[in-house]
């Protein structure tokens, strides 16, 4: 069934006509050329495809595009504002919270969502919040440190 779906993508309006059952990941990557969200597993088990829908982390490989009609989607490409990196992005750079970088967009957007809900997370809460995002290179210890730093920079965080 052909449907019309409207949403905002990185602050720009988007209109899609097509099968509303198609998954957001492929619509973003293939139809719209937004390649920040990555395919890692296709079953919602790795977090590489994470995007923000109305500010909260969503697995785009598990989300029919129909469900985001009327929503606002932010991908890693849309996180920096006016050429200025978000504090989470800066903290990932500062701490070297990445190696191959493939999981990084998902890590950063999951961290964004985590800090939106809990601006002042303990280390245990960070670990719990990031648990479903996989990283094979083993950048975990630095990712945790980066999120702690970002929390402080953003005004929350353990002082």
């Amino acid at each position: 069934m052909i449907e019309t779906i409207r949403f905002r993508l990185n602050d720009k309006p988007v209109l899609i006509r097509g099968d509303g059952e198609r998954l957001l990941l492929w619509v973003l990557r293939s139809d719209l050329g937004i390649t920040g969200p990555k395919y890692g597993c296709g079953i919602g088990a790795c977090g590489s495809c994470t995007v923000l829908v109305d500010g909260m982390a969503v697995l785009s490989c598990q989300t029919p595009v129909r469900e985001i009609d009327g929503s606002s989607v932010t991908t890693i490409e849309g996180l920096a504002t006016n050429g200025s990196l978000h504090p989470i992005q800066k903290a990932f750079i500062e701490h070297g919270g990445l190696q191959c970088g493939y999981c990084t967009p998902g890590m950063i957007l999951t961290a964004y969502s985590l800090l939106s809900e809990n601006p002042n997370p303990s280390r245990e809460e960070i670990v719990e919040g990031m648990e479903n995002n996989l990283c094979r290179c083993g950048a975990h210890v630095r990712i945790v440190r980066a999120i702690e730093t970002a929390a402080r920079e953003m005004g929350g965080g353990k002082k």
Partner: protein, 725 residues
Amino acid sequence: MAGENSSDTAGAADIAVRPLSRRQFLKRMGAAGGGLIIYFSTVDPLSWARTPRTGFLGSNIPGDFNAFLKIGLDNRVMLYTGKIEMGQGSMTSLPQLLAEELDVDYEMVDILLGDTDLCPWDAGTFGSLSIRHFGIFLREAASEAKGVLKALAKEHLKIPASRLVTRKGVVFDRAKPEHRVTYGALTRGQVIEKHLETVPPLTPPADFEIIGRTVPRRDAVDKVTGAARYAGDIRLPGMLHAKILRPPAHGAKLTGADIKKAGAVDGVQVVREGDFIAVLHEHPDVAEAGLARIEARFDRPVTGIDDKTIFDHLLKSKPKPEIASTGGDLNTGQRMASEIVEETYYNSYVAHAPMEPHTATAVMKDGKLTVWASTQTPFPVRARIAGRLKLPEDQVRVITPYVGGGFGGKSASQQALEAARLAKRTGRPVQVAWSRAEEFFYDTFRPAAVVNIKSGLDRSGRMVLWNYDVYYAGQRGCELYYDVPHHRETVFGRWRGSARKNHPFGVGPWRAPANNTNTYARELHLNLMASKAGVDPLAFRLMHLTDKRMIRVLKAAAERFGWKSGKTPGKRGYGIACGIDAGTYVALMAEVDVDTGTGNLDVKRVVCAQDMGVVVNPDGAKMQMEGCITMGLGYALAEEIHFKDGEIFDLNFDTYTIPTFSWLPKIETIILENPHVPPQGGGEPAIIGMGGVLATAVYDAVGAKLLELPMTPDRVRKAVERVKS
């Protein structure tokens, strides 16, 4: 470098200017924009090379330094390398080597990696060789280039060579520093042929200014903003995504397929060449839906081989033995021994599971094929594609964008051939991006392996016998560095070579190939021996060591860890393991809680001390150590491929468990400076001891011998039961 390099690099002669002619040079100009290259020509380009280019790693590496670098009009230097960036940090550390030897600011060096048209030939990015092997050729090229620049400056400034000094991209007169010329000005407007009869010596470690300094990752901004492009992020006009029909099991044969329904999907194109059936569409999910409509029938093999029977199967067809190392006489050792300890150790098949599955994008234009591939081996992939598609090698260009993890698994690169084949066939750009299931199915796993060790102690508690047989893992790391007078290490089959055919599916190199198996078996066995001798495991190791580098890393780890002699109380154990990999010495210590009820192991803390010779980028090296320790938790505790009759049961992260945030121990890394040894490997060494350090911790905690990796809760419980009974 410290001080100024004023050595006379004369012997330079025959400056000639000639028009642009060289194909590679012109291509670079087109690809990289302006700037000039110092064109260096010799009768035999290898004649000046101090380090011989030999073997499969080296024999095709160009002798001409221009292949490695180009100095632009703006004084920026472009570094060309056939290495690739998969997270290990080469794009950050290789420019440090070049900047040091050429004497330019680190920030003035750009780098282009993994493009077979523009970069010097390279065997591939594996074996922790980028710094310790390629790095030498790169430094020699830079040193040669600097010598040529000084010779040019001598003409330009009209002063004796002895007064010439270089500093940060400028050559000047020692007596009159304002009398100067930049590298860019020297190379401007002409292509220069120049030959140095002698290559200036490389900068000694004591003078390093850029090597040894932590510099930030060059890929970090790209990777946190989504600007980083991987092979699957390439978008070309008219590009199709291909999904390929796969067998349900290794060894299964296609007996029939009805492709009509797939072709009925709007916009779908189906390609069939014998057993090779691909469904293509401009969107990958639509291609996938088309593939699902193909009705295919397969004949499946019944071999009876599964993850339980595999060891019997492998040992039945024992490969030819090769003695890796031997000393003394085993019979004498046997006679001297008052106590014999014999055990057999096993490890399962383990997947690479990089976060980015194998992906390639290919396009054929005017007879030339260009392939963007997630691969560790762009040049061998080019050769394979050219061979299989019957194209001349210079009509195939492989470009390697960022690679989303490799760990040894992205060498075969079947997906690149598939994309190339479909691009040639359809005339359209084609992307082949493997699903996670394809990634697991076609992985070249770390081989299942068996180690048998028979060792003996004399009455004084010293080891006098070490008879070590390793099956299917390979040689790396099997040679004994403990002092045992009568020893032999024998290798029966390797992860490469003819033994591979005995496995029911593909196997290959997995981060520090063979060494994880060898170090696990050796180090756990050492603790069994220490226990038999009634000596603390650290003290037992030290009393059998004369190798100063190994003693140093062990002592450094012990000091940081707070190693104490004697059994630790309760269900908490201390583990210890050491080893040598890629020229680097590494010692690990760990603290582990054992839950004897559930069999769960809780790794509290891991300390790792490493001597990797001269360190190029200390923070980058620490990232690799942390990555090794974290990744190593996986093969030690959980990772294992289940299979039967060629069917792989673990095809995604729901059943194949890799380490996550909640597994994290406290990780402490120590790098021991060693300016007397050139830079050694960094990407692999710290992972080799993870099986051993955790197995010895469990042994310390509850006396249970974990003779098989991974140490799953079930195996831990059973081992604990064996101790009780």
